[in-house]
Symmetry: C2
Subunit: 257 residues, 2 copies
DNA sequence: GAAACTCCTTGTACGGTGTACGAGGCCGGG
DNA sequence: CCCGGCCTCGTACACCGTACAAGGAGTTTC
């Protein structure tokens, strides 16, 4: 049992996954259990967001006091790390294998990644804060590296290509999910919220003469389908840009060699 | 003066920049001032990180009590929003204009963006949480859109291309800066910390048979220069991938039309 | 000179947080 | 019967953001 106080002394090792601990599972009177705790945490995180999750509320949800949770977990952060890995488990890796070639495999991976981020808006901020080396996350990472290897890029170029593609997906999914969350908080549909935001922006005196280019684009978009179609269209196209880029680089490496 | 409690009722409008307030500036005995507060906040954020910044500590740093800050600012979040925009002011937009063509302009923008994220590791998590529509941020966004317009992509494709490039930069800078911060916290150089992490990972029983592909890459990298060179090399190459991708798409749009 | 008014700073207090610590309750085995 | 795990809980601490009201300092007005 590693206390939070001791953990703080060595932040480099600060991941649940780096200290093998027996998972304590619950023949206790409350029927508690690490899996049950994590599942409840995921549910609450999805509904209320990262900021609203507190140990006391999570415990109440489970019909227990806050301190009970600490029998199964060292720290609140641990719960979030477990929750993240459980969400990584939602990746449909079989669909990746079923795809025709590396291009489609990459598209499927990107699609799954994006879906995950949008479904669980707390993932983006959390992913930035933890090491993310749970079994499910590693399985996904493994599949990503396999797929990138198939492109034909030489070993030393693959990390770049991986970054280009999946950092993009991460960023895109982050923006998209944050937008969805804000709309929900404002009690509007995404489309209503979008129109609203654009107007607020346009009426801002600061806008005048400072972002006409952006204005053109805003106009163009409000006239084409609903927002979720736009999200999809932009995402697919950006992915095509990335894939086209990789193809070019593969060809260049081939002729350069 | 908008109280935090009232602000919470309408989260959609929750940005300092969306409510024009006279900036209260300080003939007071403490010589306080919004600029001084924001500058001190940036310094503390750089040194101690987002989590460690508290109103009481920031106030102490300025020789004042916590509540004094609330004369100049409604909320702690406001301070962070101001701090972010002040950091966006570090962008060297003149260097962008000085570049030869859109490719180089894009490279300069990406470089400046990355530099900003690495210099201020608290920016990445914060950028995800606020609207980011201060004057400096808008100026940068404006320049980005101008540059993307020069690629020759049609209007409706530009948001995709913008995402592809700058979400990548955001993700890359985020990872890089987080890595630097972790190394610093562990009291090591980045290179030491990298070797250390790789070893910890490799000795993990979970690793065996699960991430050989990753293992190859790790080997390749530890044998090529120091980490900061690798960061640079990977970044430049990924950017080339993106630029190549955009060129291909521009050509396709041209022949398709 | 006194009073009034504005600008700024402060002390105190409230409701929240994560979690350390120690006291117990339940339970199976000796 | 008692003992030693396993599990849960109550209490307490230090810290957080910030509401509220009191007050000091400086300037303006009579």
């Amino acid at each position: 049992m590693v206390k939070a106080a001791e953990r703080a002394k060595n932040p480099a090792r600060s991941s649940v996954w780096l200290e093998k601990r027996a998972t304590r599972s619950g023949g206790g009177p409350a029927g508690l259990d690490r899996d049950r705790i994590v599942a409840a945490a995921v549910r609450m995180l999805d509904e209320e967001g990262l900021a609203k999750l507190s140990m006391r509320k999570l415990a109440t949800e489970l019909g227990v006091t806050a301190m009970s949770l600490y029998w199964y977990v060292d720290t609140k952060d641990d719960i979030i790390e477990f929750a993240m890995d459980s969400v990584y488990g939602e990746f449909d890796l079989a669909a990746v294998d079923a795809a025709r070639d590396w291009r489609d495999r990459m598209r499927v991976l990107a699609r799954e990644y994006r879906k995950m981020l949008v479904r669980h808006p707390w993932m983006s901020p959390s992913a930035g804060q933890y090491l993310n080396i749970g079994p499910n996350a590693i399985a996904v990472g493994h599949k990503i590296h396999e797929t990138v290897a198939e492109t034909g890029l030489p070993l030393e170029r693959r990390p770049s290509a991986t970054s280009a593609v999946f950092q993009f997906v991460y960023g895109y999914g982050t923006i998209e999910s944050r937008f969805g969350r804000r709309a929900a908080e404002a009690g509007m549909s995404q489309d209503e919220f979008y129109v609203d935001s654009v107007n607020a922006f346009r009426n801002d005196p600061e806008f005048t003469g400072r972002a006409e280019v952006l204005g053109e684009i805003l106009d163009e978009r409000t006239s084409h389908g609903n927002l979720s179609e736009i999200w999809d269209r932009d995402f697919v196209y950006a992915l095509d840009v990335l894939i086209a880029g990789i193809e070019v680089m593969v060809a260049r490496e081939a002729e350069g060699a």
